[in-house]
Each structure stands twice: as structure tokens, then as C-alpha cells.
């Protein structure tokens, strides 16, 4: 580990810095706001790190260059937003079928269509349900501060390699553009095992290898699919991450991720000051989703409020996780309208009122 | 007998017209318009020959010319 000196860093740059410190030496990408500081940082710093930055001619070229580079076992990355991520969906599906590891950042922007670039969380479904064709999953990490952008980027490379899976970091314009002091660090292992038995390196002194996703023999593709599902089940068992704030005695639990969770923390602190028993569950991994923990919480707290910057996406996973007798409310702000702490304070207070009213009856 | 007219709120003070004018009719001004730009002014309006070189070069269609 390097010294714990703080550096004042833009969120996008924290990701780029962490990627290089995690051993990422190849970046392929196409510009799009609000994530341009990632390719720009890579262009400036990868050469000195002995790596290569290549601006692709499109997002489709980016994700396919990533396939070619990931197949060699190198730590590789791309980043984009909204429309660019949509264009990568075929590539994501191939990554899953090919079982290749890589890291992709989506600093999402509003949709549908060209939208705008204010912060939003409209890409939750696309990220966790699979926007490409077929049955597959990405690991989806949802940081909420500059430091976490840094830390989870390092985690993203490690976990991608652990499972041969594409790991998506899902952020938004606030997280990408915010500057705050962070403490950079360097993980112990900054490269994958060079002896992995699937690496494409030229068949020198060994049998030729193959990276493919086409399976034609009877039942072969079904087998491959169940093999992938088994891997996803292991991920759900071993690699769920979440944060809890004041859930112990909470009568109302807010479920929120990313920027909304961060803004929510301000609101919750003030509500606690006002004597309201509210808590927060913040999923850090959106897939794997903290289903088990929610089920546990739902056996005690019966009231949940899901807050998202969209029209209601994660709320489905929350409902699917909770026991049938829990009540789930939703507060959504789509299209780049960011709820202020005041907004959340008001909404949560209103929910609390309802609980109390019910208790009095 | 020619005249150039500057639409002040369209002008962004880029001065491409100033360079283009063969008669030095135009020059950067000192005032700022609502957009915050230091707009161009006709310092030698009577020298205008109506050649439209300024207008051809104006990226903001801020100039009209009479002749």
C-alpha cells in the first residue's frame, strides 16, 4: 500500500487512477459525456505506466477491442454512458457467453433516447436484468462516494477475474463529476495469473485454445447456460456487498443505491435527530442483490421505502426479496431531476407519519 | 453609399469580420452585451463599400449590409 495521502480528485479520475493502480494497462473507449475524464486520464497516464490508450471509432469497436484484449488475460477496461452502453449490449452478451473478464464503467445519463446528462439511475434494469440477448448476468457495482469509486474499481478488476465475468461500475453524473479528497492505494495483485488455462496467447507448445460462444451440438448450449447460472449462484452466495445505516431499530428502512443513498444519508441523519426511527440499506452490489439480507430485515421491519432516480426499477428486486407481508413504497425522480436532501426528508417524513398514524389506530 | 448593421445581441465579438473588412470599418468594441460578449462596432461606418466580406465571414449572422 502506498501512503494514505489524500488527493482531491474528480470521481471519473478516481476510477481511472484506481484502474491503473489495479494493473489495468489497456483502455479502449469512445468519448461521451459525463465520463470523458476517464479516457482523458487514461490517455495522459497509461503510456507512462507502460500501457496503451486507444480511442476506438465507436462504442461497438470499443467493446469488441475489449473482447480481443481480455482474451489474452490482460486487465482491460472501457467506459461510456447511456446510448454508448446500449450499443455495447451485443458485446456484453458475448462477454458472458465467452466468459471473459473485463471492467466497464457506465456513468449513466438520462434516457430514453439522447436524453441529457444530469444524474439518473434509469439504467438499473439494463444493468442487472441483461440488456443483451440471452440469460446472463454482469456483476454490477454501485459506488456512492469518490473513495468508493476508487475502491470498487479495484474490486471490479479482482472480481471480474475471479469469475471470468464482465463487471459493470454503475455511476451517474454526480459521481463522475464530483471532486473530493480520496486516499489512493495499490492492491497486492495487479495482474491476473499468467497460467490460466484459457488465455489466448498463441498455441506455443500446447494445444490450440478457443474462445467462443457458439454451441451447436444437441444440449450443449443448455449445458453452457446452466454452467453460467451455477457461476451466478456462487456469486450470489459469496460476493454480495451492502451497507446499513441505523437499521437496528428502524421502523422504516430506506433502500437506495449510489448518489440517492448518499443524499439519503443526509436526510436520515436529520430524521434521526428529529427522533424518527429510520434506517438505510444501501446495496453496493446490484447484482448480486442483497436478497438474503433484505429478507432478514423484512422479518422485523415491515415498512420499506425505495428511492431511485428513475420511475421504479430496483423496487422490483426489493419486492422480490422481502417477505410477502412487508409494505414497499416507491419514490422516484427520473430524467435527471436529482432529489435534494430536503426532498428526501419530506418524503421519508410523510412515510413515517403514515406508520405512526397506523400505530395510533 | 453602403452601410453595415450589427445585430448587437447576436454578436459574439469573434472579430472575424474585423479581419475580413478591406476598409477597416469594424473594430472590437468595449461594451458587453447580454450574453457577456464584447460586441463589434462600426468605427468607420462611412467607409463601408458594401462588399459583404464581413457578413460572409460572420459565424453568427450578426451583420446585415445595404448598398
Amino acid at each position: 500500500m502506498s501512503s494514505p495521502k489524500k488527493v482531491f480528485t474528480k470521481g471519473n479520475e478516481a476510477i481511472a487512477m484506481a484502474a491503473i493502480n489495479a494493473g489495468c494497462r489497456y483502455y479502449f473507449g469512445y468519448p461521451i459525456t459525463p465520463q470523458n475524464e476517464i479516457p482523458e486520464y487514461m490517455a495522459a497516464h497509461l503510456p507512462a505506466a507502460g500501457g496503451e490508450f486507444l480511442q476506438a471509432e465507436s462504442e461497438i469497436a470499443s467493446i469488441n477491442m475489449l473482447i480481443g484484449a481480455a482474451a489474452t488475460g490482460a486487465r482491460v477496461m472501457t467506459s461510456s454512458s447511456g446510448p454508448g452502453i446500449s450499443l455495447m449490449q451485443e458485446g456484453f452478451s458475448y462477454f458472458a457467453g465467452n466468459e471473459l473478464p473485463a471492467v466497464v464503467v457506465n456513468m449513466s445519463r438520462q434516457g430514453p433516447g439522447l436524453g441529457g446528462i444530469n444524474a439518473t439511475q434509469g439504467d438499473y434494469f439494463q444493468s442487472v436484468k441483461g440488456g443483451g440477448h440471452g440469460d446472463y448476468k454482469l456483476i454490477v457495482l454501485a459506488p456512492h462516494t469518490g473513495q468508493e469509486l476508487y475502491d470498487l474499481t479495484i474490486r471490479a478488476f479482482e472480481i471480474a477475474e475471479k469469475y471470468r465475468i464482465l463487471t459493470l461500475i454503475l455511476g451517474d453524473a454526480i459521481l463522475g463529476q464530483i471532486k473530493e479528497p480520496i486516499v489512493p492505494w495499490v492492491p497486492e495483485k495487479t495482474a491476473g495469473d499468467p497460467d490460466r488455462d484459457w488465455l489466448i496467447t498463441g498455441a506455443q507448445g500446447r494445444k490450440p485454445r478457443l474462445i467462443k460462444s457458439l454451441y451447436l451440438a444437441d444440449g450443449e448450449m443448455e449445458k453452457h447456460n446452466w454452467h453460467l447460472q451455477e457461476k451466478y449462484a456462487r456469486i450470489e452466495r459469496d460476493d454480495v456487498m451492502f451497507e446499513e445505516v441505523d437499521t437496528d431499530d428502524a421502523e422504516l428502512i430506506i433502500v437506495a443505491f449510489g448518489s440517492v443513498a448518499r443524499i439519503g444519508k443526509s436526510a436520515i441523519a436529520r430524521l434521526r435527530e428529529a427522533g424518527k426511527k429510520v434506517g438505510l440499506l444501501r446495496p453496493i452490489t446490484l447484482f448480486p442483490f442483497p436478497r438474503k439480507r433484505l429478507r432478514e430485515l423484512g422479518s422485523r421491519s415491515k415498512k420499506f421505502l425505495v428511492a431511485e432516480m428513475n420511475t421504479g426499477q430496483m423496487v422490483e428486486d426489493v419486492k422480490l426479496s422481502l417477505p410477502g407481508d412487508c409494505q414497499v413504497e416507491f419514490y422516484g425522480r427520473p430524467g435527471g431531476s436529482v432529489p435534494t436532501p430536503e426532498d428526501l426528508f419530506a418524503v421519508i417524513s410523510a412515510s413515517c407519519e403514515k406508520i405512526q398514524a397506523k400505530e395510533i389506530v | 453609399m453602403a452601410r453595415v448593421e450589427i445585430e448587437i445581441e447576436r454578436c459574439k465579438g469573434c472579430a472575424l469580420c474585423v479581419d475580413a473588412c478591406p476598409e477597416q470599418v469594424l473594430a472590437p468594441g468595449n461594451e458587453i452585451n447580454l450574453g457577456g460578449y464584447q460586441y463589434v462596432v462600426a468605427v468607420n461606418p462611412d467607409d463601408c463599400i458594401g462588399c459583404c466580406r464581413c457578413a460572409e465571414m460572420c459565424p453568427d449572422v450578426a451583420l446585415a449590409v445595404w448598398r
Binding site: F8, P34, K179, E180, T340 | -
Partner: protein, 181 residues
């Protein structure tokens, strides 16, 4: 103590620079800070703004819904942000470009300064109006010490402009002085 400010004006008025500078000053004092600029298409059309939040505790929201304070460098910015202010908040207003009459709130503390004039007089340079405004805001709010801001100049300024540090310092101090009396 928690504090926040939104700074806004034309692109080119140095808004992002003073936002950054304030953030570095907070770091000098070992405080937590977030700096959130406006970005992208918002930047075209010539306006720019940023929000800075400073606190001893970890910072929750970097988004400032109802600002405690404003630094306003042009007219459209006053119109956009004044209505959102918390009552009692401080506005440092660039009187050189915006008449205080544009203000519509009477429950706030409006400090209208002829920034260009103060800059010219204090720093010998009309172009440091942004530093004057920051100096005034820091002095008025006490969010950080003016000295911390001065100490932070070397971090916030591109090394190419380090020779301008003395002039910047003078502008900051002139701004602080303007609100001290």
C-alpha cells in the same frame, strides 16, 4: 460545522477556479469537502456553476438543494439561484455586472460589491474579481480562514500561474477587507 455555497457566472469568470480553491482550503484545514461542477451541455451557452459543501463530519449530499450561500457573478445566475436560498443566507453579488435591484428576496443577506473595482484597486488587476468574491465570502461566512485559502492557492492554480499567487492573495484579502468593516 456544515456549510455550503453555490458559485455561478459566465464561463471565463473563473467560477470553477474559486470553487476548487475553496475546496483545497477546506482540505488545508482537514475538513471534508465536496466540489460539484456543472458540466457538459450546460457549459455551452456560456454559464457555469458549482456547489461546494464543507463539513467536519463525512459529507452526505454533495447536491445543494437549498443553498446557505451564493457567489453570484452575473445576472442569469442570480435569477436562477436566489429563489432557492435558505432564509438568512449570504449572497456575494457582483455589482459590476448585476444591479442589486434584481434581487427579489428580503430575507437574505445581500452583499453587493463592485468586484472589478475592488480587484483593480486591491490587486492592480481587474481580472481577479473572482478572488475578491471568494475572499469576501470566506470572511463573511467564516467557513475557512482566509489564510487557508491563500495557502491553498499553490494547489488550485496551475504551476504556470504560480507567479500570480501574490496578486491573487491581494485580491482575496481585498475581498475579505471589503466585508470586514
Amino acid at each position: 460545522m456544515y456549510n455550503d455555497v453555490i458559485m455561478a457566472g459566465f464561463g471565463g469568470q473563473g467560477i470553477m477556479l474559486i470553487g476548487n480553491l475553496l475546496a483545497y482550503a477546506a482540505i488545508e484545514e482537514d475538513k471534508n469537502v465536496t466540489f460539484l461542477p456543472s458540466y457538459g451541455v450546460e457549459m455551452r451557452g456560456g454559464t457555469a456553476n458549482c456547489a461546494v459543501v464543507i463539513d467536519e463530519k463525512p459529507i452526505g449530499s454533495p447536491i445543494v438543494g437549498r443553498p446557505l450561500s451564493l457567489i453570484i457573478m452575473n445576472r442569469p445566475s442570480l435569477i436562477k439561484f436566489e429563489p432557492r436560498m435558505k432564509p438568512g443566507g449570504v449572497v456575494i453579488l457582483n455589482k459590476t455586472l448585476v444591479s442589486p435591484d434584481v434581487s427579489e428576496r428580503d430575507d437574505i443577506d445581500l452583499v453587493a460589491l463592485d468586484l472589478n473595482a475592488i480587484s483593480a484597486a486591491g490587486a492592480g488587476n481587474v481580472r481577479l474579481a473572482n478572488m475578491v468574491a471568494l475572499g469576501a465570502y470566506v470572511e463573511k461566512s467564516g467557513v475557512v480562514a482566509v489564510d487557508s485559502v491563500v495557502a491553498a492557492l499553490k494547489h488550485a492554480l496551475n504551476p504556470r500561474y504560480h507567479k500570480m499567487i501574490p496578486a491573487n492573495r491581494k485580491a482575496l484579502e481585498a475581498g475579505a477587507a471589503a466585508v470586514k468593516g
